[in-house]
Amino acid sequence: MKKRLLLLSFFAAAATFTASAQDAPKADPPLVIFGSVDTYYKNDFSGFKSAGGSSNIGTSFASDQNSISIGMIDLGLKKKVGKAAFVGEMSFGPRGQAQSIPNGASGDSYHIQNLYVSYDLSDKFTVTGGYMATFVGYEVISPVGNFNYSTSYLFTNGPFQNAGLKGTYTFSDKASLMAGVFNDSWNNYSSTKDVSTFGAQLFLSPAKGWTAYLNVVSGKTSGTEFDITTAYQITDAFKLGLNAADFNAPNSPGGFQGIALYPQIAASSSVSFGLRGEYFKVKDGGPSVKAFTLTSNIKAGPLTIIPELRLDKANDELFVDSKMLGTKSASQFVLAAVYSF
């Protein structure tokens, strides 16, 4: 009996060591399942609720007035074997479908966030093809990637996703260049006519903790946007981000310009505060808005609770007050919960 137990223990110990040996760092990474779930409550202080259920501030997500609503469940798979990798990420829910993704020809809503393959042609050069989150801008569709829960005007008016083929050359950990061709229209799984949009991104890291992305996306169908996105982790607790963009609409003098500043401070390992101050202007005599969003991220493991206050002030009466009269300002409160896995 003792011998049997001894043998059993020996095999258990051997299995432990074998398991550790299989975890050698140079091995191909395993198949990874990742994603998030988000839900929120929003209240516009004017009490205004449109027929569609939204309210004053035209944020991309967190749109439902006086409602406990859902964002999306986001599910992704990824795997890399040798030099070849794929990412497939899809989402279900308003944030991932009707609010951000194009509908199909029959009105159905697909829900792909990322679907691409990539291959490392060398240690420094990677080619990627498929449907990808846009490289333009500071904010993203996934709530996990944003500090604020509501989104900026710059995000809402810029591209969300681009389908295309791109090559990225990494000069060093301080500089890289991406260039590629993309479908003629943004946020579509297929081209309207052709693959005629050019996109490029120059990445620079001038100092430790400081990253800067200079972006351009240009095409006859979708117009031209120049964008700079930068963030600097100045101390362990303080980070400053900036996003500025200029967009020229195709075949018209229209477009937009804007700048947003994102100071963020960590009060502890689980609580941080951030302000987003944005100025956004529609070209060709359009309105302009200044928006201030104060957000806190309270983390409990994979769960983040996000209370947020937002005040928007326009140069014109873009909003309505409690009496349904036109007004230049609007404010709202959002309480969101995001679980990342």
Binding site: M1, K2, L5, L6, L8, S9, A12, A13, T16, F17, S20, A21, D23, A24, P25, P29, P30, L31, V32, I33, F34, G76, K78, V87, E89, Q113, N114, Y116, M132, A133, T134, F135, V140, S142, V144, G145, S205, K208, G209, W210, T211, A231, Y232, Q233, I234, K239, S269, G301, S340, F341
Partner: protein, 199 residues
């Protein structure tokens, strides 16, 4: 007497379980140095071997283990490399990259002995980026000694275990290279031949 027999069995089983548990706790490989920094350190006697021979073997190991990461030092007989490796967080269904750990390995040689020292461990946590990939957050770096202040005891233990396992594996490879133990290739099993025309 039967009672004693079962007690003995129970105690023995617990001892075996503890043995397995000890084998699992790879973080024990890590020690604190005089500056209260985590290191994995050992001095190994190699009587009869010159510093030059040991240095050459150390250099060969570094070149094999982390090509392009070996640094030239001005200290005679010393080899230094700086590299990093990925550690994983616990997940219900699959492993997920938690971040990467950068480290520095020093191999110092003298006549008749050498020492190795894995140290300067810094954890760089990953965050998922817009393309669904895990990436470091620029400027966010946590020295291993401060992990406790940022992560739960359970997570910190899990990370330290993986770092310990890495050091254990890497140091075993280093010792093998320094010993120059000849690896006997396993005799490949010949493919069996069958005569399909005789049936």
């Amino acid at each position: 007497m039967a009672y004693l027999y079962y007690m003995k069995k129970l105690v023995f089983s617990i001892a075996c379980a503890l043995l397995v548990q000890t084998a699992w706790a790879q973080k024990d490989v890590l020690q604190f140095d005089e500056n209260n920094k985590y290191v994995c350190y050992q001095v190994i006697e190699k009587p009869g071997m010159s510093m030059d021979s040991l240095y050459t073997r150390g250099l060969q190991f570094a070149g094999y283990f982390a090509p392009k990461r070996t640094e030239k030092t001005k200290v005679p007989g010393s080899v230094t490399l700086k590299d990093n490796f990925v550690i994983y967080g616990s997940a219900l269904l699959s492993k997920k990259e938690a971040g990467e750990v950068s480290y520095k390995l020093n191999i110092d040689t003298k006549d008749g002995k050498y020492r190795y020292n894995f140290g300067e461990f810094v954890f760089k946590p990953y965050k998922i980026n817009r393309y669904g990939n895990m990436a470091t957050q620029p400027g966010v770096e946590i020295p291993l000694e401060k992990m406790w202040s940022k992560y739960s005891v359970k997570d910190t233990d899990a990370y330290l275990d993986q770092i310990g396992a890495f050091c254990k594996t890497a140091s075993a490879k280093l010792i093998q290279q320094m010993d120059r133990v000849q690896v006997l290739r396993k005799q490949e099993e010949a493919v069996k031949k069958v005569a399909t025309d005789k049936w």
